[in-house]
Amino acid sequence: MDLIRLKDVHKTYNLGEIDLPVLMGVSLNIDRGEFVALMGASGSGKSTLMNIMGCLDHPTSGDYWLDGREVSRLTARERARLRNRMIGFVFQSFNLLPRTTALENVLMPLIYSKEGLSEHQKRQRAIEILRKVGLSDRLGHQPSQLSGGEQQRVAIARALINRPQVLLADEPTGNLDSHTSEELLRMFQRLNSLDGITIVIVTHDPSVARHAQRIVHIMDGLIRSDADTPRDGGTL
């Protein structure tokens, strides 16, 4: 069954006098366990699409089923709960809380969780996830004491803390050098293949998109192409 199913999604921004259509009928299915790259030039609507998939925004028209549930008409509050439970976000600029340790940063989403874990369980889970992203010796470091790659890995750990179904990454390598980017993308691949987490990466960089199993090209608010990547290299 599809984890993400978009059907004829439109999104129009109202800029005062004029309406700016960004998405003009996007239909897209993503299966559980897929690793998808959304590609497109800036202004193509890929970020808007990701916001809708991440339940940060709702479509002007069209339907969106997340894990079999129609979510496009939910209220802000219901969407917040859904994000907390189902979706992990990784941003281009990391968005870590300054002057806060890596561990605290990773623990942050749990504050809003309804799972009712004890403090000890929360810490255990955070430490385990930080170990998984290779930062077990950086628990007490603040973002300013970490390299860009390490910061992004903290951000990934934070995205994973609530055990989401889908990880949405918006240009996750945009602020990183090519070597670090490569490492990070391999980590995404590992999370995808070993833990079975569905990953959607938004990027404009073909060398980043190459790491995904499937590349969806977006142009002017419409999907232009949707194909699996040739298994040539850069995989496990």
């Binding site: 976000f89 968005n95 989403p109």
Partner: protein
């Protein structure tokens, strides 16, 4: 999101920017400290004013005997003999609103010392608590007479400054003798200068002695004469050597009642009477209460029937009391205004910093929303931060306020008084200010669009 984790989030957010936290808190600290210092100085001032007013006699209640009416002649207030020293004891014992009681026996007579003589305005026989009633405890020299002296009818006295001037010139009167109607009193103390009272009578022109001494040794008329107006003038029944020394003094102003007349209107002779009882209410507000209690006690003691009029009168200092209460009220209102202004200023300071903080932390808010914070969570977090800031500021403000009022007392020697109500009010108000002025920024934060907030530079 539970209370504990909200608080922890708020605290860690505040810890993350210590400088901003401190600056924000400073507004409230100064506000609360100002409130407390002002309230305490104000309270001190109020108490000082009250004390001054009391020394004028604001809380004083004078109980005087009623008017005697014999043979159609009304002798006026104070002419009846109805008050006893036991009445005074009963008043202090039974009237909770009364602070001090002093019975008074008056005499108007000549004082002689060496080759000088003088007739003071007041020659009062009383008890040591007279000085408390009149707020006259700190003597210029010497010590007051004691209850022991009262019991023994000791021939000791305290004299006022005018008497000192008239009888002793520049010399110290301590230990000297003053003869009052041929009774030698030893001067054991000199009263502090008090000046004239509001009627222009010189209050320093006074001699105070134990009432027993004045009563039994000087006036010696307690059991005999019919009323007070004749007490000082009609001394024919007394054994008094002064009759020989000053024969002219014995002039009868009132017709001496014949034996028949006296038999027709017998005066019950039952007690040692005093001329008046001076009492003081515990505080200005208790004056009506004190009057009521004294009335009840005296009516009961005098076995007055419900239909009988009072055989005594109680006078209070309405004018002074009114002046005092209006002054106190004015000060309280003034302080309240100052306090409110300080707190509003502090509160606006908090709101400004919180608004800046919301703007500055737009991305953080966006992030929190992205990971699943509901608008309500964001609202609660920022509100909690504001309230924590205010309570922190309140606490520090209390400490600062208390210590600055302490400094004011010790350095400037201004009177201050701890005001618990000011402390409680300051804390309550600072928490309220936190909620009220923290609400708008918090509400603004919770309304942010997570996408916009995440993109905010």
């Amino acid at each position: 999101m539970k209370g504990y984790s909200i608080l922890r989030t708020a605290l860690s957010a505040l810890r993350r920017n210590v400088m901003r936290t401190m600056l924000t808190t400073l507004g409230i600290i100064i506000g609360v400290a100002a409130v407390i210092t002002m309230m305490e100085i104000g309270n001190g001032a109020t108490i000082a004013i009250q004390r001054t007013m009391i020394s004028i006699g604001a809380n004083t209640l004078v109980v005087v005997p009623g008017a005697a009416n014999t043979g159609g002649i009304n002798y006026g207030i104070g002419s009846l003999m109805t008050l006893t020293p036991q009445d005074a004891d009963a008043i202090i014992k039974e009237c909770t609103a009364v602070g001090n009681v002093a019975p008074i026996v008056r005499a108007r007579t000549q004082l002689v010392s060496g080759n000088r003589n003088w007739v003071p305005t007041y020659v009062y026989g009383t008890t040591p608590s007279f000085l408390q009633v009149r707020e006259w405890m700190d003597l210029d020299q010497g010590e007051a007479f004691t209850e022991h002296d009262v019991r023994n009818a000791s021939k000791v006295c305290l004299i006022g400054q005018t008497v000192v001037k008239q009888l002793f010139g520049g010399q110290t009167p301590m230990g000297k003798e003053i003869r009052v109607r041929n009774v030698a009193f030893k001067v054991i103390g000199v009263l502090r200068e008090k000046g004239a009272n509001m009627m222009g009578l010189d209050q320093d022109d006074i001699l105070l002695a134990p009432w027993t001494t004045i009563k039994y040794r000087v006036v010696a008329s307690s059991l005999a004469s019919a009323n007070q107006s004749s007490t000082n003038t009609n001394n024919t029944n007394e054994v008094n050597t002064l009759n020989k020394i000053y024969p002219e003094i014995q002039q009868n102003l009132y017709p001496v009642p014949s034996d028949t007349e006296q038999a027709d209107s017998p005066q019950p002779i039952r007690f040692t009477n005093v001329d008046q009882i001076l009492t003081s209410a515990r505080s200005a507000v208790q004056i009506p209460h004190a009057i009521q209690q004294i009335t009840t006690v005296l009516r009961q003691r005098h076995h007055l029937h419900i239909s009988d009029p009072n055989d005594f009168n109680i006078r209070d200092m309405t004018e002074i009391t009114k002046a005092m209460s209006s002054t106190t009220e004015l000060i309280t209102k003034l302080l309240l205004c100052v306090a409110m202004i300080s707190l509003v200023v502090g509160g606006i300071g908090i709101m400004n910093i919180m608004l800046v903080s919301v703007t500055e932390r737009t991305r953080e808010i966006g992030l929190r929303m992205a990971v699943g914070a509901e608008p309500g969570d964001i609202l609660r977090q920022f509100l909690t931060e504001a309230v924590v800031l205010c309570l922190l500021g309140g606490t520090l403000g209390i400490i600062l306020g208390r210590s600055s009022s302490y400094i004011v007392t010790s350095v400037l020697h201004w009177p201050t008084a701890t005001s618990v109500s000011a402390i409680v009010a300051a804390v309550v108000v600072s928490a309220t200010v936190g909620v009220v002025f923290g609400f708008y920024p918090a509400w603004k934060a919770s309304r942010l669009d997570p996408i916009e907030a995440l993109r905010y530079e």
